[in-house]
């Protein structure tokens, strides 16, 4: 029995030693837990501080938002975008306030939990001390302790889990804080942008104000200008009315003048027609007087006294002169009554026709006419023929009695600038026709007068004629919008230069 008791005693000793060791281990463990709990408490305090700072920061943010709202309200009301952004910010701020309240609530919860943990730890410390005191005495209590340890381990595991939870929450809070910092930065940036925008708007407003002033000035000026214009318009209307009346008056006068002009034109045509018809009809009785005269002189020659013969001859001469006058008047009236129709005509052919008509006179005068240098020209053919006829017959008439008549007729084209005459324009081309003879000529100071109607340089006893021939020439040249220049010296022949536009 003793042996058995001894072995039981040994086993108890060993168990006691073991328990003692376990107690020491548990003490160490409890001490470690205590330290861990203190650490946790410290961390919670830190988190609280941090949360409190965040609350203050959020309040600050809220305050800044309000300030910004005031600022935005002061800015141009028209800036709807800014208002809209402000509303957005207010919403954000409200969200942040809610988030902050949430955080505050979470922190409160954590504080409560931490306080509970603190109390629990104090309890555990106390219990451990009690257990250490009782350990030596109570073996049975060990089972309790084992159980309690298990409980504590569970609790430690729970605390560990709680710590993990707290670490996670802290991380979340840090993230949130970081987010809040970013949000603050964003808000600060937005504020800067708004300030910039506000500054821009202020500048824009100043610009608009300046433009308004300018526009007002301009409007004032325009107002004055409008008054001026209105006055001028009134004046113009008055003037227009006056002009209208004047125009009506002028129109009436013009009509009267046109009537008068057409009356005159008709009268003139009638007069010319009368001249033509009367001249034409006068020819016939005149010719008969001449013919009867010539019959009497031929057949009754021996029955007439010398005086009678002389008187008959004078009668014939007078009748001849009248015939010449009628012929010239006819020619002159024909020039004024015929239409001015221009045609391109060969001057050489016209001259040849005239030479043919005048062939008897040409033979009598032993005249030669050189018309080889002639081209074509834009002329009124009928009139131009009369013109050349008059010039050629004039040259034949005023040829020197003792010298065969010699005429040179030529034409060329010259530019007005080379003619040096005021009546011709320098930018036109002119047809230039020259008729040059070797006749008796005339003193140079008669060069204009010879073209006047009924102007003669010789008595009709010496050279017959009516003084119409060269007047007709001049009239025809004028009908061709041209000029004629006579150049001569007494006994040295005469030259007639005609210039008229190459194309009419």
């Amino acid at each position: 029995m003793t042996k058995i008791n001894k072995s039981v005693e040994d086993e108890l000793i060993i168990a006691r030693q073991e328990l003692a060791f376990q107690k020491v281990e548990k003490g160490k463990r409890a001490a470690e837990l205590g330290i861990a709990n203190i650490e946790l408490v410290f961390q919670d305090e830190e988190k609280e501080k941090r949360a409190a700072e965040l609350v203050i920061a959020n309040k600050e943010v809220v305050f800044q938002n309000k300030e910004k709202e005031k600022r935005a309200a002061e800015l141009i009301i028209a800036n709807k975008e800014v208002v809209f952004q402000n509303k957005e910010k207010e919403d954000r701020a409200a969200e942040l306030i809610i988030a902050n309240k949430e955080l505050i609530f979470q922190n409160d919860e954590k504080e409560k939990r931490a306080a509970e943990l603190g109390i629990a730890n104090i309890e555990l410390v106390f219990q451990n001390k009690e257990k250490e005191n009782r350990a030596a005495e109570l073996i049975i209590a060990n089972k309790e302790l084992v159980f309690q340890n298990e409980e504590k381990e569970k609790r430690a595991a729970e605390l560990s889990i709680a710590n993990t939870e707290l670490v996670f929450q802290n991380e979340e809070k840090e993230k949130r804080a970081a987010e809040l910092i970013i949000a603050n930065k964003e808000l600060a940036f937005q504020n800067e942008e708004k300030e910039k925008r506000a500054a821009e708007l202020i500048i824009a407003n100043k610009e608009l104000a300046f433009q308004n002033e300018e526009k007002e000035k301009r409007a004032t000026e325009l107002g004055i200008a409008n008054i001026e214009l209105a006055f001028q318009n009134e004046e113009k209307e008055k003037r227009a009315t006056e002009l209208g009346i004047a125009n009506i008056e002028l129109a009436f006068q013009n009509e009267e003048k046109e009537k008068r002009a057409s009356e005159l034109s008709i009268a003139n045509k009638e007069l010319l027609a009368f001249t033509y018809v009367s001249s034409h009809d006068l020819q016939e009785p005149l010719r008969k007087i001449q013919t009867f005269c010539s019959i009497i002189l031929e057949n009754e020659n021996e029955n007439l006294s010398e005086k009678g013969k002389y008187n008959f001859e004078r009668m014939q001469q007078a009748a001849g002169r009248m015939q010449q006058l009628i012929d010239d008047l006819l020619a002159f009236s024909r020039i004024n009554t015929t239409e001015l129709i221009f045609e391109e005509a060969d001057l050489k052919i016209i001259i040849e026709e005239i030479i043919s008509d005048l062939k008897e006179t040409i033979q009598d005068k032993h005249a030669t006419i050189d018309a080889s240098g002639l081209g074509s020209a834009n002329i009124i053919p009928f009139q131009f023929r009369q013109l050349m006829y008059n010039l050629i017959s004039n040259a034949l008439k005023f040829s020197k009695p003792d010298l065969p008549s010699k005429m040179v007729i030529k034409s060329n084209i010259v530019n007005g600038s080379k003619i040096n005459n005021k009546k011709l324009s320098a930018d036109k081309n002119y047809c230039h026709i020259t008729v040059k003879d070797n006749g008796i000529g005339f003193e140079s100071h008669f060069s204009e007068r010879i073209f006047e109607v009924f102007q003669k340089l010789h008595s009709k006893e010496v050279y017959g004629g009516t003084g119409i021939g060269l007047a007709i020439v001049k009239k025809i040249v004028e009908n061709h919008n041209g000029i004629i220049i006579a150049t001569s010296e007494l006994d040295k022949g005469a030259t007639f230069d005609i210039y008229f536009p190459k194309s009419q």
């Binding site: 034409h280 016939e284 019959i295 009928f382």
Partner: protein
């Protein structure tokens, strides 16, 4: 130059001119059968009368009553039966355009009635000689006008 007996027709309303013509023929001793009419209608009636022997030559005045010389000339030249008759125009006036027109219309000669009777006689003789020489051919324009003076 000896002329054959010619059948000469004169259309002229002026009695004096008809007398001048007749006297000229007499003084020139031209053997002729001389007829006168005094207006254009008479002339055309005579020529269109089938019993009439057509004249060898017609002297035609331009300014005649009822039907003037221009109308008669173109009627004659359009008429196949009459177009062969040589027509010599007699006129107091001389207008170039008119003369050209008459030549184109087919007249043989144009005589401007001169103021001297001797000239008139010589023109009658000249024209009759030309006609006798070349009875049907119309002369060129150059030889169309027979006169001693023109304007």
């Amino acid at each position: 130059m000896l002329l054959k007996q010619m059948n000469i027709l004169l259309a002229d309303d002026d009695t004096d001119d008809c007398i001048f013509f007749k006297e000229a023929l007499q003084e020139l001793f031209i053997p002729s059968d001389f007829t006168t009419v005094h207006d254009g209608e008479q002339l055309m009636q005579l020529l269109n009368n089938e019993t009439t022997e057509l004249p060898h030559v017609l002297f035609l005045d331009l300014n005649m009553p009822r039907k003037n010389g221009f109308e008669c000339l173109s009627e004659i030249k359009r008429n196949e039966k009459l177009s062969g008759i040589p027509v010599i125009i007699l006129s107091t006036s001389f207008e170039h355009e008119t003369v050209n027109q008459l030549h184109k219309s087919g007249a043989h000669y144009y005589i401007r009635k001169p103021s001297q009777f001797s000239q008139f006689k010589s023109l009658i003789q000249q024209s009759l000689e030309y006609i006798a020489q070349a009875l049907t051919d119309q002369p060129s324009r150059d030889n169309f006008v027979l006169n001693t003076q023109c304007n």
